[in-house]
Symmetry: C2
Subunit: 401 residues, 2 copies
């Protein structure tokens, strides 16, 4: 008996031009285009195994070892349904292929990073879901075509269908068929691009991005200006900066757009705050770091960006990352030793401040204010894994434990 199964991993992406606001909440069509850097799956990934079998009685999804109900008409059901439709089309065009589109599916998905880290796992999760079904169904679809479906699971998931530098073009069709991800440049174009994720703990429960962005659409008086005037220019600037490998412009646009996004969140009624005092201190650290570099005739060397939470992601080039990690460890003392997946500090991090940096600008935070640092880099798109080794499902199609 043939087993129809595939296992795929998909990456996290962190936007440098932010997505905030939907013009269609069902199809998840955004009010502006956005652009992200895909992070390396060696460090952060979602892995998903999908299997189709005639004997399965219903579609089931296990997320991190726990069943996640597939609600009728919900986002999971939409993605799975759309993928089955594509398989059906493929079967109709290729009559010799097995008719598995009518089978129920069992899907198991894991993230290799703790949910508590506050990293958006929905992007990598839905990208892995769609990619694993595409592999199972042997679909000829391009990543952009698959991004149309991932988008309906979680908007920013569409950008995780590509590696490197990825734009989500907002599109204009009411059907959403032109609201998809495209590659701006592959990871190989600018492999020196790295990222340091600073996990910031927060006592306050945040506003979910889904409800937050709709409140912004409904109440902010500044959002429309951001959408119409600010973002389109920044998209052009950012695409040019990436193509030219112009880190200064990349960094300046990244920081400004992060602030612009948090500004419209604050302009919401009631206001939405995602950054806290530790986030503010990270910004102050990076601002002073760049100021000191530029004052000494050097370049802008780092860019902060914040999603819908207090965590910072610092983008920098490989050459500067060791200095930045030492700096962050100086002002945000780590309770645990720095995991060093890329082997930057063979004998451990010696925290410190670069020459010319005014230490009075930032106060040393309490140990653990930044609870974890994740050093990674620009990475590739979804990977089809060796299912015989990486499967998350047991032989009988139940969750492997």
């Amino acid at each position: 008996m043939t087993v129809y199964q595939a296992t795929v991993s998909a990456p996290v992406n962190i936007a440098v031009i932010k997505y905030w606001g939907k013009r269609d909440t069902k199809l998840i069509l955004p009010t502006n285009s956005s652009l992200s850097v895909t992070l390396d799956q060696d460090h952060l990934r979602s892995t998903t195994t999908s299997r189709a079998d005639e004997s399965f009685e219903r579609d089931i999804l296990w997320l991190n070892g726990k069943e996640d109900p597939i609600k009728e008409g919900g986002r999971l059901a939409t993605c799975i349904g759309e993928m089955k439709k594509l398989r059906k089309q493929y079967e109709d065009a290729n009559p010799n292929e097995p008719k598995i589109s009518s089978y129920r599916v069992h899907i198991a998905s894991n993230n290799n990073f703790p949910t508590a880290a506050g990293l958006a796992s929905s992007a990598s999760g839905f990208a892995a879901l769609v990619s694993s079904l595409a592999a199972l169904y042997k679909l000829p679809s391009s990543p952009s075509e698959l991004s149309l479906i991932a988008r309906q699971g979680s908007g920013s998931a569409c950008r995780s269908l590509f590696g490197g530098f990825v734009a989500w073009e907002m599109g204009s069709a009411t059907s959403g068929t032109d609201s998809l991800a495209v590659e701006v440049a592959p990871r190989e174009h600018w492999p020196e691009m790295q990222a340091l994720v600073c996990v910031v703990s927060d006592k306050k429960k945040g506003t979910s991005s889904t409800s937050g962005m709709q409140r912004t659409v409904e109440t902010s008086t500044l959002l429309q200006h951001r959408i119409r005037e600010v973002v389109p220019k920044r998209m052009e600037q950012m695409i040019r900066a990436i193509k030219d490998k112009d880190f200064t412009t990349f960094a300046e646009v990244t920081m400004r757009d992060s602030n612009s996004f948090h500004a419209v969140a604050l302009d919401t009624d009631p206001p939405i705050f995602y950054m806290n005092d530790v986030s503010r201190a990270i910004i102050a650290t990076i601002v002073e770091y760049n100021r000191a570099s530029v004052a000494a005739g050097g370049p802008v060397k780092a860019a902060y960006t914040f999603d819908a939470g207090p965590n910072a992601v610092i983008y920098a080039l490989e050459k500067d990352m060791a200095e930045i990690i030492r700096l962050v460890c100086y002002f945000f003392p780590q309770g645990v030793s720095f995991e060093d997946p890329m082997g930057v500090f063979p004998s451990g991090v010696q925290s410190g401040v670069p020459e010319g940096f005014d230490v009075n600008v930032v106060k040393v935070a309490e140990t653990g204010s930044v609870s974890r640092l994740i050093h990674t880099r620009v990475g590739g798109g979804p990977r089809v894994l060796d299912d015989s080794k990486e499967t998350l499902l047991a032989q009988d199609g139940s969750l492997k434990v």
Copy 2:
């Protein structure tokens, strides 16, 4: 020998439509109109004594007991010089009046609130300076005329020339002659309007409003939209709300405009943050307080607003203020007992939360996060005091100690 001297006190004002951005930094002409409530001088005031004397060798100003240098071409020199010009015109028109416009002046000014409280003392200070010179010079100038001069000392000072509810009309003349304060309504129109100043300590040194607002003008992509589209509509709404004594609209516009101002500060490069985690918690408290009231069929009862610092000012009507003080004392335990200038709590504050308030929305802060509460109300304009009793200068014209 005649002593030419006058002592005047002037009030603090807290804007409900914020001033942020200058179109002329020398004349202090704003990029948008603004509107404020004048607070009661019984609680918060600057007091200034001015004396003109032929024997004085130079203009001197003492601020809170310390000489404050009057720099040539600076804001103090401008205000004093403009007032002397008005006196000269008055003398030319009234030849029998003594020719004191050519005399040097000694000026002593005090605030009755600590600078450490982080309240903008420049508004009350420049209003008291200009008013005391106007009294000394016996000028027939109207408050609006004097506001033109106070404006050149500190923009928001122009609004402290009136009591009650005051608009600063931005004007359009390049000379600044139409950028002045006007009364929207006197305090007697809506005497129930009260304010609770929550003094929030902050470890981080803030950005001065003078430099901050210029950076916003230079770098924010959202400010122009705020100036052109958002504020003009809000000015109309707010004037109407005050004339109608419509607290719901007053509160909603106040909170939205505070957030809009902080949003454009955040949209500045590098970003400017004035609110901290305690400020955020105060906002969350007021949002939940209003939500609970509205959910129970009641009205919006409180409005927060934040100037260029972490302190909150909560506007509310007299009938609700006791409940609000109890609520604030519950979530922000006071290290010192509440000064109760209006005798709301004859036997001390019993902190507590009103019915329907979800206590899980806000965490109780560390004692002293809000270091002081000042309960006050809408107040009147500058007052000419009995100089024989209130003078800040000694008989010989030196600082009284």
